[in-house]
């Protein structure tokens, strides 16, 4: 990668920190690394306001349910599927009030799935604290057939829609929750550069 060059549509994520100005807190975490990120948050302090934690566990990974039960005072909800965790989020939002702070730790797919859901309730993604944990896997939008392929670990990813070999760019759309994928051999058919894992 060229030094000093940053595509400014690529989101920058940082460690979660409790927001002091809040009426309530909603924490959503995914997998082992997300569970640990939630634990780190409770190491900082225990806020005054009500706290809900939605924890999507990961099959085969470390499970922080027991540890979280000890520190989450009011409302810990644990799920072993992504759909169930997102349904719990949907169920929580209609009751939520202005001043709810949302914190997310997990893969990019997890955080942007959440961003799309909360957008329906008027919450801008800029108001969600996001920490990237567990994986650098990318969701890739095929600019040719418009399909989104999840879990791309390599610089070049086959499109799940049209099968084209897509070069995974750094250009990111928050609306789509995906990086742009552009046919890598459009100018010279069949000339595919070496495929490397760069998003482990």
């Amino acid at each position: 990668m060229e030094r000093g060059y940053w595509i400014r549509s690529k989101p920058v994520y940082s460690a979660l920190v409790w927001q002091q100005q809040a009426n309530a807190h909603l924490v959503l975490v995914e997998g082992s690394a997300g569970g640990l990120a939630a634990m780190k948050l409770f190491q900082q302090m225990l806020p005054q306001q009500s706290i809900t934690v939605i924890y999507e566990t990961e099959a085969g990974g470390a499970d922080y349910t027991a540890a979280l039960k000890k520190v989450v005072p009011d409302d810990l909800q644990v799920f072993n599927s992504h759909d169930a965790a997102m349904k719990a989020l949907e169920a929580h939002l209609p009751e939520a009030l202005m001043g709810l702070r949302i914190y997310v730790a997990g893969s990019e797919k997890f955080m942007w799935d959440i961003a799309q859901i909360v957008l329906h309730y008027g919450v801008d993604d800029a108001d969600i604290a996001k920490e990237l944990t567990g994986t650098l896997a990318r969701s890739v939008y095929c600019v040719h057939c418009k399909a989104i392929t999840h879990n791309a670990h390599t610089n070049i990813q086959a499109c799940s829609g049209c099968g084209k070999k897509l070069f995974v760019r750094d250009h990111f759309s928050r609306r789509l929750g995906a990086y742009m994928g552009l046919m890598v051999d459009a100018e010279d058919p069949g000339q595919i550069p070496e495929i490397e894992e760069i998003y482990p």
């Binding site: 940053w6 549509s9 600019v143 250009h171 928050r174 789509l176 459009a186």
Partner: protein, 346 residues
């Protein structure tokens, strides 16, 4: 002014050509022998008679064929038109601005009659006549933004101003220089300019944003931007990159003059009255190297600019494959003489 509209194509057999008059008024973008990005904005005031800036929106000999090409591109990929739901005021702003400008600037081609909110629009070149109620979408066949975007040359983006930035929240984009509306729609200013090289270092985008956010109603601005395209193709979208990307391999020393086109965008920006949004209009002009070099001053100038262009820009604009051949082809016009500052052809 009377205009003969040419019947020509921007795809397949590529019959697009510029008349002698069209070449002479081409918006040549290089006042100096070198080029780098800058905040090169100026007031969009009435230019000299015959210039592309004479009127608010330039209607030229390619008008009818270009509108047909737009319709074709949109038909093949409906995603080239996108609008977020909160942009309806801006849509009507756009319809009003384009209808009023065209009917004032080209009364023999376009007319607009108003009786309160009951408006009648006539577009003679495209044989359209329509009565509708301003502000009532149900009286038009489609969104007001789509309706008039189909009837004005160029691409259009409606920008919403909030959170101290500009969001690209609607677009009608059929002649883009390799950016995707469906991907970029809803993005903030710095996000959709993310991939442009060098500009962060230069601070260009920060300054341009500040400038645009303080724009006032009735004081539009403009700038020129440029790239190059092989064949006179308007739809050089990333969506259709597999269709046109390979054209870059077809340039030979023999066909440089006809195949290699300078692509200039006349970009204009207007503050909109109801929505307080901005209209960003991107009008594309294409000229091949043969046509360009009918004015040797331009051939000399472009030879120098292209030869010395920063490699990041050449890479970003996709010019690397045919740069050497084109520079070589242009060099025969360049005697090295000082041609002074300015974009004039002679």
């Amino acid at each position: 002014m009377s205009l003969a509209f040419k019947k020509e194509t921007f795809r397949d057999d590529y019959t697009y050509k510029n008349s002698v008059e069209a070449i002479k008024r081409f918006p040549f973008p290089f006042p100096e022998d070198t080029y780098m990005y800058s905040v090169n904005m100026e007031p969009h005031t009435k230019g000299p008679k015959g210039a592309v800036t004479e009127h608010t929106f330039d209607i030229d000999e390619h008008y009818v064929s270009e509108c047909l090409d737009k319709a074709k591109t949109l038909e093949l990929d409906p995603g080239r038109y996108a609008v977020l739901p909160h942009m309806m005021d801006a849509q009507w702003d756009f319809l009003e601005l384009t209808m009023e400008s065209l009917s004032t600037d080209y009364p023999h081609l376009f007319t607009l009659k108003k009786d309160g909110k009951n408006w009648t629009w006539e577009n003679k070149p495209l044989s359209i006549k329509k009565s509708f109620v301003f502000g009532d979408v149900s009286t038009l066949d489609m969104d007001p933004f789509e309706y008039m975007s189909r009837q004005v040359q160029g691409d259009f983006v409606l920008l919403d101003q909030r959170n101290d930035t500009l969001y690209a929240d609607a677009g009608f984009i059929t002649s883009q220089a390799d950016w995707s509306l469906n991907f970029d729609v809803g993005m903030a200013w710095h996000e959709w300019h993310g991939p442009v090289p060098q500009v962060t270092k230069l601070g260009v985008m920060d300054r341009a944003l500040k400038y645009l956010m303080s724009m006032q109603l009735g004081a539009p601005v403009r700038r020129l931007n440029w790239t190059m395209t092989i064949n006179p193709r308007l739809d050089t979208s990333p969506e259709n990159y597999p269709l046109w990307g390979g054209d870059r391999n077809t340039v030979t020393p023999e066909n440089v003059g006809k195949k290699v086109h300078l692509r200039v965008e006349l970009q204009t920006l207007f503050r909109l009255p109801r929505s307080n949004g901005l209209l960003f209009s991107i009008r594309c002009y294409l000229i091949n190297m043969e046509e360009l070099s009918t004015f040797p001053r331009w051939a000399k100038r472009f030879h120098r600019v292209f030869r010395d262009l920063h490699s990041d820009l050449a890479e970003y604009k996709g010019l690397v494959k045919f740069r050497e051949m084109t520079v070589q082809w242009l060099s025969k016009f360049d005697d090295g003489a000082d041609i002074g500052v300015g974009t004039h052809p002679e």
